[in-house]
Structures are given as C-alpha cells and as structure tokens.
Amino acid sequence: MIEIKDLKKSFDGVEVLKGISTNFETGKVNLIIGQSGSGKTVFLKSLLNVYQPTSGEILFDGRDINKMGREDKQQLRSEIGTVFQGSALFDSMTVEENITFPLDMFTNLSFREKKRRAFEVIGRVHLEKANRKFPSEISGGMQKRVAIARAIVNNPKYLFCDEPNSGLDPYTSNIIDDLLLEITKEYNTTTIINSHDMNSVMTIGEKIIYLRQGIKEWEGNKDILINAGNKNLIDFVYSSELFKELREYFLETNKTSIENIITKPQSNEENP
C-alpha cells in the first residue's frame, strides 16, 4: 500500500501539486486521471522520486521514500517496476536483453535462471517470437508489452505505468489493460496507472483519483464514477458524445459499469 500525505511540488515558484493526499491499495489497479497539465505525470514522478517533493510524505508500506538512506532507497527501487509512456526501452539491447536488464544489474542469479525468468515473463506478455528483436523492429503495442515484462521480471511490489495506452489502437489498448489487471491480481502488486484512456478508466479502474490543476478533485472507483457529483470530472470523463449518451443510458437503465454492456474482443496474442 502506498500512502500519500499532503504532497506538494513546485517548479520555479509555480505550484504544480497543491497538497494531494490519497492511498493506493495493494492488489488493486489504481488510476490517476485528469486533463493534460493537471499534474498527473509530476505526481507519478514524485511518487517515483524522480522529482523531490516540495513537502509531504510518500509512504511505501510505511516507509517514507523521502527520508530513506541510499541503501534503503536502492532496496525500495528494486521493488518498483515502471512502464513509461514511450516504453523507454533501451535501443541498443534486444527485447530479451531489455527484460533481463534488471536481473543483470540487481541480482546474482545464474545465467540459466535469468533466462528462465525472462522467458517466463516473455510468455506472460505473449512475445515469444520477438525476444531477439530490437525495440525499433517491433510495434508500439509490442514495445509496451516488453516494457511491462521488464517491469515485472523482478517480481515488483509496486507497478507504475505512465499512460500505457497512449499511441495505441483501441484493440491493443484492451490487451494492455487486461494484461495489467491480470498481473496486478497474479503478483498482488500495488498498480498505479496514469491514464487518459476512458476505456481503461471504465474497465479496470478499481480506484480512480481525478486531478485538476494540481488538486485531487475526486476519488472513487469505476462503479461509482457514473454517479459522481463532480461537474469537472463528468465533463472530463464524458467529454465525447458517445460517452455522454452511454452515461445517459447507464443512468436510465441503472447500470453502473461499461463492462455490463460491452463485450470485449478476444486477445489475439500475435497481434502486433
């Protein structure tokens, strides 16, 4: 579980995060949503200690990352897996080398054991045929899956994803969403996802926090999102005509989740 208490972050006197407090629970998919410029990425990077917060506390199972010594921080970092918006795969390494990189750096596992772990997660993200390719030789969706595999290869307790669906078609986005949900349950990770994708919000958002201008304006889950009383949130989530009509349909029929009316396509494992 990650607890955030009154987190503030300023850049050159401009306050980007204005005192955010929330909890992210273990074994759940936690979504951070908000418009561009709302402070989502700064919030995520502050949690990851890429940015030093101006004030506030970030507790990873009771351990405050900002008060840790170097070795404790190093230990905590080995418990964190991260999926970046642009995947952030190392260009000079193959898919397999990218995935084994955290094992090479932070474990003393034998070559055979590293290989076994790598193939286990490669299989988990359905990329068996791409292990010898370089990131530039595979599609955006496959790159995201490699990034997820790299993030989970070391069995992380915390999984952070910055807009994992950005730039992907709706079909591939569904595959990524399903994968993140399954991994969260299977590995019992505390998963935190920054997302713009309303489909993700309505299908995997077990906890959702809505940021606006650096303030947490709403907190809840996908089931109560439909009845949220926050006008800014409703305008943001249901900004398209389709979603507006869906909301009206939900409210009329007393359904609470999009999962009740949408049948998702089956995942095609080799779909690039």
């Binding site: 990077k45 990851l48 200690n49 890429v50 921080k73 190093q74 970092r77 080995s78 964190i80 991260t82 970046f84 918006q85 642009g86 952030a88 795969l89 190392f90 260009d91 000079s92 990189f101 955290p102 090479d104 750096m105 932070f106």
Partner: protein, 250 residues
Amino acid sequence: MLKRFLSEIGAYFLLLSKTLKRPQKASIFGKLFMREVYDLGVNSFGLVLFTSTFVGAVVAIQMFNNFSASSFPVPNSFVGYATKVVLILEFAPTIISVILAGKVGSYIASSIGTMRVTEQIDALDIMGVNSPNFLILPKIAASIIFNPLLIAISIVFGIWGGYLAGIATGSWSKADYITGVQMYMPQHFIWYAFLKTAVFAFLIATIPAYFGYNVKGGSLEVGRASTQAVVWTIVSIIITNLLLTQMFLS
C-alpha cells in the same frame, strides 16, 4: 551570463562526481566498455587513417617548399624530421582530437540526449542504476584507452603519407625522408603527445555526455545539444592544448 557559465561548470563537475565511481556491476561495465571501444574507437579508424595520410603528405610538401625557399640550404632529410615532429607534437594529438570531437562528440551527445528525451535515463534512475556512471564511465574509459592508440596510428600513417608524397612528387628521395624520420627527437615529445591525447579523450567523452545528459525537450533540443557539445569540446581542447604546451614544453 557569467553566472550561467559558472553554474554550468559546477553542474559539469557534479555530473563527473556521480560518474567517476566504481561501476555497480563489473560484468555489465565490461560489456559496455567493449561496445564503446567499438563505437568510439574502432569506428573512427577509417577517418583517422584517411585524414592522417593526406595531412602527412601535405605537411611534408609544405616543409619541402619552405626549406627550398630558405636563404640557407636545408638538407632534404629535414623534411622527414620536421614532418615527424609536427605530426607528433600537434597534428596527431590535437587535430585528430578535434576531428574526433566532431565525430565522437556528436555521437555521444545525441545518443545520451535521445536516451534522456525518450525517458531511458529516467528508467535507469528509477530502477536504482547510477545513470551517469552507467552511461558515461565506459565512454571515458574507452576513449582514454583507445584514443592514444588512434593517435599512434595517426602518427605512423601521417609519416607514411609524407613518404608517399615524396615518391609522388619526386621532390625528395626515400632515403633522405627515412633518414630524417630516424633523426633524434627528445623522448618527452612522445609522452607529451600521449598525455595530451588522454586529456583530450577525457574532454571528448565527458563534455558531450554532459550536454546530452542535460537535454530538455525533444529531437530539436538533442540536435542543438549535439552542436553545442562539439563546439564546447573543441574550445576546451584548444584552451587545454595551450595550457599543456606551456606546462610541458616551455
């Protein structure tokens, strides 16, 4: 402006302090080191051979012309001697380093800069990898070890270029040229050349790495950083050259 310049110098030394530490994993460092030797050194072989041979020929021809125009007779063997000394003292260590600053410097700045803008460096930091040490130290080690070898090759091929120029023009004989090349030269000229090369190699690896590491923005900024890196590396090589010459040869 002075304040900004000083803060950049401070940031450069802070980056160096993070870079010059024991590698986190020796086996990974070894792998990266070998890759950098190939990318920074072996890949520069052709350019160094080509440039050195032609410049060696040009230096020899100009020496011959100057000696011919002299009011007192200078033996042709001095063409070989002068070419050798010019190549060892200045051309090979300084000019080849300037050329490498352009080729290798832009490669280092743009590759690290691209890693920065595509969040690869953030990924390393979040994993707990000391990213400056991981990315820059193998480049420093590879440059310091391999550049002296490139310079040695440059000297040999420069002298050979002068020899070929003699054959092509017929202005001086092979025997005269070889006699000149074999003439006595203080040994510390050689040490001075390799010391300079090692210092320049350090600058070529670290200054572009600093510019690349601190890129903010996108591909345009990576391009700008790459250009700035080459300019500042060349400027620092030229200033350092003056300081080292004053220290060791005056």
